[in-house]
C-alpha cells in the first residue's frame, strides 16, 4: 500500500483537492451538477490554488516578513484613503 499521509506538504486534503475542485467547477459550467452554494468563485479558487502550491513563496518571503507587512499596511492605508475620498466626492 502507498505511504499515505492525511495532510500533505501543501496542506491540502488528500491528493490535490484544490485541482479537483477547479476541474469540477469548470465542468459545472457546462453540465449542471447540483447545488454548490454559488460555487467556489474563480478568484478564490485561483488564490487558494496558488497558496496551496506556494510553499516555496513562503520560504522565500518570510525573511522579508517585516518589510512586507509594513508595505502591505501602507498600501492598505492608501487604498482605504482613496476609497474614503471617492465616497466623499460621490
Amino acid at each position: 500500500m502507498p505511504d499515505n499521509v492525511l495532510t500533505e506538504q501543501k496542506f491540502d486534503m488528500g491528493r490535490g483537492e484544490s485541482g479537483r475542485i477547479m476541474r469540477l467547477a469548470a465542468l459545472n459550467k457546462i453540465v449542471p451538477m447540483g447545488n454548490f452554494g454559488g460555487g467556489p468563485g474563480f478568484r478564490c479558487l485561483l488564490v487558494l490554488f496558488v497558496l496551496h502550491h506556494g510553499s516555496l513563496l513562503f520560504r522565500l518571503l518570510i525573511v522579508h516578513e517585516d518589510r512586507l507587512t509594513m508595505l502591505y499596511q501602507r498600501l492598505r492605508k492608501n487604498v482605504a484613503h482613496v476609497v474614503r475620498t471617492r465616497r466623499g466626492q460621490s
Partner: protein, 685 residues
C-alpha cells in the same frame, strides 16, 4: 545580548542545541511555539464560548444573543486591560476576573456560583481541541530536561498559570516543566520585559545562563536580549503557509457558502504527530470523505431531534453500530448544552422483521412487491424465505390460484408471465391465504413486541429511528408489526439517503426523511450517493452477524437469533469486516475533529450542504480510478437479495463503481455518461 530569528524548526533546534550547552535555564513561550493552534486567529475560540454562554443564559431565562455576549466580554476585557495599564506598563487581563464580571453583567441576580467554573471548563476544552503539541520542540524540551536543565514556560496571555498547566498537562509534558508563568497572574508581561524580571526574582534565575525560545520578535526576542538573556525566535514558514490557508478558507466561507465545508475540513486536517505516514488508503478515505458526510448526517439528525422535541433515538442494526459511535462523538460536542435524546442500538433486520410485519396485517401487496425488487428473488419460495413462511401448508392455496412454488414472479426470469403476477395478487386478496400467513407469523410478531418492550420502545410518545437507507424497508416492516397497538409511538425515521423506490406509506405517526439525499427533494448532487450504497453499508456495518429473527424462551424473554457465520457467505463477510476496519477507524478519528471544527465555526448541516454536495459528486460520481480500486468492497452479503441469477439479465447495466480499473481508465467519458444518465433519471422522477 544579540537575538536571532530562525525560519524553520530544524534550524532553530540546531542553534538551540548549541546555545543550550552554556545555559542551565531554558524558558519557552507556549502558544505558537510549544503548542500550535489549528486556527489562524486565536480570538475565534471565543465565539463558541459566546454561543455557550448565550445558551446558558437562555436556560436561566435571560435573553442575550451570542454576539451581545461577545460584545460584553470584549468591553469588560478592554476595561480590565485599561485598569491594569494604569498601574503597569503592560495592559494585561486575567480570565477569571474579567469572565466573572462578564457573567455578572449578563446574568445579574441569576448568576450561579458554579457558572464561572462551567464556562472556564468549556473554554479550556475548546482551546485544547484547537491546540496541537509541536513534536520536535517538545522532544527537544524533554532532552534538555534529561540533561538537568531547568525548564520554564512563560506566556503573555489572559489565562492564569493554573489554566495553562492544564493545557500543558493534556499536551503531555507538564512533568518536564519546573514552573509555568503567566502574565495574567502578575500583570508583568514579556512584552515590556517585566515578565523576565518577575520570573528571575521568583525562581532565582541568572540572565547570563538563561536561554529563551519563542515566536514573537519583540516579546521573545528583543526584550529578553535587552535583559541579557539569550533568545531564539522561530518564524516558521510552514506555519505561516498553513495559517494563510486556513485564514482564507474561513474568510471565503463568510461570502461563499461552498467554502464553509472546506474550511471545516481544513480545520480537521491532522497536524504534527497526528499526521503520520503509513495510513492505508481506506483510512484516508474514511477520514477525508466519509467522516464529514457521516458527521453531517448525525449532526442533521441531532438538529431535527432538537427541533421536533424527540427524546428517544434508536439506531438500527447493523449500520447503526458505527452511527451510534459517531453520535456519541459528534452530538455532545456540537450541542454541548442541548437536551439530546437518549440513544440505543436496536437489533433489527429486514429478514427478522419481515415475518413479524405479517403477524397482524397479513402479507400486503406492497410488501410482496418489495421482495421482487432485487433481481435475485424469483418466485414464491423467495417470498417464503424472506417472510419466514412454511410453504407446504400454502401449496394448495397456490394451486387454487394457478400458481406453484417455483412459478416465476419476477420479470427478469424465463417463464415469467404478467398474468401470473395478477394471479399472485389474487392470492394475496384471498382471506384464507392471509389467515394462514397471520397464523404462521404470529409467534414472530409476539417475540418482536416482547423485544421492543424490553428496549422501552413503547414507553415514549415519539421515537426517532436511524438507518442508513434507502427505501426505509426496516422501518416499514417494524411499523407494520406494531401499528395495531394502542401505545405505538410516533416513528420519525432518519435515513442517510431516501431513494423511495417504492413509495413509503407516510402518515403523521410514521414517516422517513433522507438527510443527505431525499428523492422528495430535487437534489442532483445528492443523488450521486446512489452509486455507492453498498460502500456505505459495508463501511458502517457492525462486526456482529446479521439478525435472522426473535424467539421467546421458556421464561418469556426475547432471544435474538443471529445468522450462522460458518458458511461461505458468513466467512466472506468476516473478511470484508477486517478489510474495512481501517476505514472505520478513519471515520471515527475524522468525526472527532469534524465535531470540534463545526463547534468552532458554528455551521449547521444546511450550511455545509454545498460542500457535501461537492464531496458526493467528486468522490462518487467522478471518482478517480485509484479510488475505485482502493475503496471498493471485496464482499457484500445481503440475505434479502435471493440467490437466483436473472435469465434475461444480459442487458443489466453495471453501475459506475462496478467497472474495472482498466475500463475506467480507457473510457474517459464513462463517468460523465453515467452522470448525464443520472440527471435524466432524476428529471423523469
Amino acid at each position: 545580548m544579540k537575538w536571532k530569528k530562525y525560519y524553520s524548526l530544524p534550524a532553530l533546534l540546531r542553534a538551540g542545541n548549541k546555545a543550550a550547552r552554556h545555559c542551565p535555564v531554558i524558558s519557552f513561550d507556549l502558544f505558537d511555539t510549544l503548542l500550535i493552534r489549528r486556527i489562524h486567529d486565536p480570538d475565534m475560540v471565543k465565539l463558541p464560548v459566546a454561543r455557550y454562554i448565550s445558551e446558558l443564559a437562555r436556560h436561566e431565562g435571560v435573553v442575550c444573543p451570542w454576539y451581545r455576549v461577545q460584545e460584553i466580554r470584549d468591553t469588560v476585557e478592554q476595561e480590565h486591560r485599561q485598569r491594569t495599564g494604569e498601574q503597569w506598563p503592560d495592559h494585561e487581563a486575567c480570565y477569571p476576573r474579567f469572565m466573572g464580571e462578564t457573567l455578572e453583567r449578563i446574568f445579574g441576580s441569576r448568576l450561579d456560583g458554579r457558572l464561572l467554573d462551567e464556562v472556564t471548563t468549556f473554554e479550556l476544552g475548546m482551546e485544547q481541541r484547537m491546540l496541537v503539541p509541536r513534536v520536535q520542540l517538545i522532544a527537544w524540551l524533554c532532552d534538555l530536561k534529561k540533561q538537568g536543565k531547568r525548564i520554564f514556560v512563560l506566556s503573555d496571555v489572559y489565562l492564569p498559570a493554573g489554566h495553562l498547566e492544564e493545557l500543558i498537562r493534556v499536551a503531555g509534558f507538564l512533568d518536564q516543566v519546573e514552573a509555568v508563568v503567566s502574565s495574567a497572574d502578575s500583570f508583568q508581561a514579556k512584552a515590556s520585559g517585566l515578565g523576565y524580571d518577575f520570573a528571575a526574582d521568583r525562581f532565582g534565575l541568572e540572565p547570563a545562563g538563561w536561554l529563551h525560545i519563542g515566536d514573537n520578535p519583540i516579546s521573545d526576542g528583543l526584550r529578553p536580549a535587552q535583559k541579557g538573556i539569550r533568545a531564539l525566535v522561530i518564524r516558521d514558514a510552514r506555519e505561516k503557509h498553513r495559517k494563510a490557508l486556513i485564514k482564507r478558507y474561513v474568510n471565503y466561507s463568510h461570502g461563499k457558502p461552498f467554502w464553509r465545508g472546506r474550511a471545516v475540513q481544513q480545520l480537521m486536517l491532522p497536524l504534527e504527530a497526528e499526521n503520520q505516514g503509513g495510513c492505508s488508503p481506506l483510512y484516508t478515505y474514511g477520514y477525508n470523505v466519509l467522516a464529514p458526510l457521516l458527521g453531517a448526517f448525525i449532526q442533521g439528525i441531532a438538529e431535527q431531534c432538537l427541533t421536533n422535541g424527540l427524546n428517544r433515538l434508536y439506531f438500527f442494526s447493523r449500520e447503526g453500530w458505527l452511527l451510534e459511535k459517531i453520535w456519541n462523538v459528534v452530538a455532545p460536542v456540537v450541542f454541548p448544552l442541548a437536551d439530546l435524546p437518549q440513544v440505543s442500538y436496536l437489533y433489527v433486520s429486514r429478514m427478522a422483521l419481515a415475518g413479524a410485519s405479517c403477524a397482524h396485517q397479513g402479507l400486503t401487496r406492497t410488501n410482496a412487491d418489495i421482495v421482487f425488487l432485487p433481481a435475485g428473488n424469483r418466485d414464491f419460495r423467495d417470498v417464503c424465505r424472506i417472510f419466514s413462511l412454511d410453504p407446504d401448508p400454502l401449496r394448495s392455496l397456490l394451486a387454487h390460484h394457478q400458481l406453484a412454488l417455483d412459478t416465476p414472479l419476477n420479470p427478469g426470469y424465463t417463464g415469467f408471465e404478467p398474468q401470473k403476477r395478477l394471479y399472485f395478487y389474487g392470492l394475496l386478496d384471498d382471506p384464507e391465504f392471509q389467515e394462514e400467513i397471520r397464523c404462521q407469523c404470529a409467534a414472530a410478531g409476539h417475540a418482536l413486541e416482547s423485544y421492543l418492550e424490553q428496549e422501552d420502545f413503547f414507553a415514549h410518545r415519539s421515537v426517532a429511528l436511524v438507518d442508513i437507507g434507502w427505501l426505509g424497508t426496516i422501518q416499514r416492516f417494524l411499523f407494520d408489526a406494531i401499528k395495531h397497538r394502542s401505545d405505538v409511538p410516533s416513528c420519525q425515521g432518519f435515513l442517510l439517503a431516501a431513494t423511495r423506490g417504492i413509495e413509503y406509506p407516510t402518515t403523521l405517526n410514521n414517516r422517513i426523511d433522507g438527510i443527505l439525499y431525499d428523492r422528495n427533494r430535487f437534489d442532483l448532487a445528492g443523488s450521486s450517493i446512489l452509486h455507492v450504497r453498498d460502500l456505505f453499508e459495508e463501511a458502517c456495518r457492525a462486526p456482529h452477524p446479521t439478525l435472522n429473527g426473535y424467539r421467546l424462551d421458556d421464561s418469556g424473554q426475547c432471544r435474538l437469533i443471529f445468522r450462522d457465520r460458518q458458511d461461505a457467505a458468513g466467512r466472506a463477510e468476516e473478511v470484508q469486516n477486517r478489510y474495512y476496519q481501517p476505514m472505520q477507524k478513519g471515520i471515527l478519528d475524522g468525526v472527532a475533529r469534524y465535531a470540534s471544527a463545526v463547534q468552532l465555526l458554528g455551521h449547521s448541516t444546511a450550511d455545509l450542504k454545498p460542500w457535501l454536495n461537492y464531496l458526493m459528486v467528486s468522490r462518487f460520481a467522478f471518482p478517480k480510478t485509484r479510488e475505485v480500486e482502493e475503496v471498493s468492497y471485496r464482499h457484500h452479503l445481503d440475505d434479502f437479495h435471493g440467490g437466483h441469477t436473472p435469465d434475461q439479465g444480459g442487458k443489466t447495466m453495471l453501475d459506475l463503481w462496478q467497472y474495472s480499473a482498466g475500463q475506467l481508465r480507457r473510457s474517459p467519458f464513462l463517468r460523465l455518461r453515467f452522470f448525464l444518465s443520472s440527471i435524466r433519471q432524476r428529471l423523469k422522477e
